[in-house]
């Protein structure tokens, strides 16, 4: 009913919805809400809806839904009891009466609230109080560790760096040139570059390979050796230039 967002609520003579109208009708019975006659109330409401229809007033849908529900309630109250029916018509009537009582209670509570001595209307605070001031003072905290760690950080970041390369076995290019030149003189046929390498540790041999390769290129450039390779990464052969 009222929960249907599509419901068009139309104020009719200032009523805010069917419950409001019902409450107004109930109060016109001029009795305590707890003693109203629900049947009489239903008649009053249906009468109102009829007269609205006669006046060709377009009633909002929720008024009509309420009218339908009240007509159902009326018939349930008048017809012989169906013991199976849940809730019973009496209970439905009681619930309606309770809802009216609740709405009425809240309406009266709202009126009493508004009639209280209200601040700024009936009672007043000072218009321009001096006000209380809170002066915030920052207390800065830092620990000695933070300080020296910060200095360490800066020092590490900005000290001149000396890069020291660990000493390792290296065959220099000069050594390789000398070695390959000597060996090429003693070899007549093609020989793989591996055979020119000295024995030793893996690192030593790697360095020797690199250096010997460069030496081979240098010697080829000088026209002292010829190089041959079948395919990329295939063994590299060299022999003395004819």
């Amino acid at each position: 009913m009222a929960d249907d967002p599509a419901t068009l609520t139309l104020d009719i003579d200032g009523w805010e919805g069917p419950l409001d109208l019902l409450l107004a009708l109930a109060r016109s019975q001029k009795v305590d809400l707890r003693q109203i006659s629900i049947l009489e109330l239903v008649e009053q409401y249906l009468g109102f809806v009829d007269s609205a229809a006669a006046l060709k007033l377009e009633l909002a849908a929720d008024y009509l839904v309420m009218a339908a529900w009240l007509a159902y309630l009326k018939s349930a109250l008048l017809l012989p009891r169906d013991p199976e029916q849940e809730p019973s018509p009496e209970e439905m009537a009681l619930r309606l009466q309770l809802r009216l009582e609740r709405l009425n209670t809240m309406r009266e509570a709202g009126a009493r609230l508004m009639a209280r001595d209200r601040l700024g209307r009936d009672v007043f605070r000072r218009d321009a109080p001096a006000g209380l001031r809170t002066v915030r003072k920052a207390v800065w905290g830092a620990e000695i560790y933070d300080l020296i760690a910060a200095y360490g950080r800066i020092s590490a970041r900005t000290r001149p760096m000396m890069h020291i390369v660990a000493d390792r076995e290296v065959m220099t290019l000069d050594a390789a040139l000398e070695r390959v030149s000597a060996m090429i003189g003693a070899t007549i046929d093609w020989a793989a570059i591996d055979t020119f390498l000295p024995s030793g540790s893996a690192r030593w041999r790697t360095s020797a390979l690199a250096s010997s390769f460069l030496a081979a290129l240098e010697l080829a450039k000088q026209g002292r050796v010829e190089l041959r390779q079948q395919a990329p990464f295939a063994p590299l052969y060299l022999r003395a230039a004819p």
Binding site: A2, G17, R102, R116, R118, G120, F124, R125
Partner: protein, 199 residues
């Protein structure tokens, strides 16, 4: 207790000055932050007694204290002041429902009023500083609930929500029980206790 013929003690003077200067109602903790050590509560009690019946009164609103003019002098003071903007009937009822039922969902408010709340009604109450969102209810849809603010108590001159007129009677009468959201829905199956029993 009429203490006014005694000399006020230092704490009482200090609390008096701080509350007088404050722009907002103050909690005991806020007062203590200015006054320092001392029995603030006792000082407030002493001041309340001292000012009782005077043109200025010391009042408690929730957990905050303030001076304000006595209510019976409203007619003297109202003269050159704007009338507080009048709340609509829908606004008034909605505020009452929230105050007496809080925390309460929008659907529950609508169920009591039997009509939808128009968009602006809750906005107006929140803008006035009387109503605030008060968390979600852990039911399907997790609807937002609403409750009143400390400013509500201040504005309407209530010590606490317990001072809402008639709230105990209404509660005893079952009129503040959880609302049957689906009145008219026969499946609601809610057994309503007879509210006349103890009324």
């Amino acid at each position: 207790m009429n203490r006014s013929d005694e000399e006020p003690d230092d704490v009482e003077r200090a609390v008096e000055a701080v509350l007088f200067a404050a722009a907002e109602p103050l909690t005991i903790d806020a007062i203590r932050a200015h006054v320092g050590e001392g029995d603030i509560r006792a000082a407030l009690g002493g001041l309340a007694a001292r000012y009782a019946g005077r043109g200025i009164e010391l009042v408690r609103r929730g957990d905050r204290w303030q001076f304000q003019t006595a209510g019976d002098l409203a007619h003297l003071l109202r003269r050159d002041r704007e009338e507080a903007r009048k709340l609509s009937r829908a606004g008034t009822e909605t505020l009452a429902i929230i105050a007496y039922h809080e925390p309460v969902t929008r659907a529950e408010i609508e169920a009591i009023r039997g009509v939808q709340i128009s968009k602006g009604t809750l906005d107006v109450l929140m803008e006035a500083g009387w109503v605030r969102p008060a968390g979600r209810r852990e039911v399907p849809g997790r609807p937002l609930t609403y409750a009143t603010t400390p400013g509500f108590l201040v504005h309407f001159g209530l010590d606490s929500r317990r001072d809402l007129p008639g709230i105990d009677d209404l509660r005893a009468a079952g009129l503040l029980d959880p609302v049957d959201l689906a009145m008219g829905d026969d499946d609601a199956g809610l057994v309503v206790e007879n509210p006349t029993e103890d009324a």
